[in-house]
Symmetry: C2
Subunit: 111 residues, 2 copies
DNA sequence: CGAACTACCCCGCGTGACGATGTAGTCGCA
DNA sequence: TGCGACTACATCGTCACGCGGGGTAGTTCG
């Protein structure tokens, strides 16, 4: 039950980051995050889709339905200009925070 | 409102980490965290004291009141054996998580 | 039925405002 | 000058609130 809370605040970054490469649909976004994190982060549907909606509502993402031909329709998401800026902001925010934690947790004399 | 949620799950690590050097009282713990993080992390009393109590109840910390002679009484906390182990666990958990985030957010071809 | 996606409620815990206690320092006023 | 009132600050604490991840059931379509 350790990292259960760690995710808070990073989901936006994670989602936006994998979308940097281009359009992806929900299921695929989850898969990318899982792969990239070496299965350490396993996106639950419970927060992934709400996160996508938040980001879409915030103007960071644009979405469009598309037939897959082989299965249900898929909703593809892509970064908007706003989303790209948000990604950069989130990334640097995370960087600062992670460094701070490292400074505190790293001990008295270390980097 | 960026880093608002990032703290979640790291408070235990932060508190235990600064106590690695020896006994400290609450107010001082907050100050240490603030200093070490270059003021990036500013511990709120609203989570610091509850966290201390949680950790004490969990057997990770031992506490004792002590007169300071110059001001209100202080409650000094120190790590127990359990707390040390918990610190190590939290630290490695954080490390893994941080690396995962970096892997995902770092982009397609980068470390 | 199963893949892709949605909706909804639960709840831990950080947030911010506030309070209580204790000491030192300052200022007023005779 | 002396002494109490009043302020400033250190220290510990509580509480209501809200965000957002967790879990899970529901929906649609092939």
């Amino acid at each position: 039950m350790g990292r259960s809370q760690l995710l808070k605040g990073t989901t936006t970054l994670l989602v936006l980051a994998v979308l940097r490469e281009g359009e992806l649909y929900g299921y695929e976004i989850a898969a990318r995050i899982r792969e990239r994190s070496a299965a350490f982060i396993d996106p639950g549907e419970g927060w992934l889709y709400p996160a996508l909606h938040r980001l879409e509502a915030a103007g960071a993402l644009e979405a469009s339905w598309r037939e897959s031909g082989i299965g249900p329709r898929r909703r593809y998401y892509r970064l908007t200009r706003t989303g790209t800026r948000m990604l950069e902001a989130e990334a640097s925010e995370w960087e600062s925070f992670a460094r701070s934690v490292r400074l505190v947790a790293g001990g008295p004399a270390d980097a």
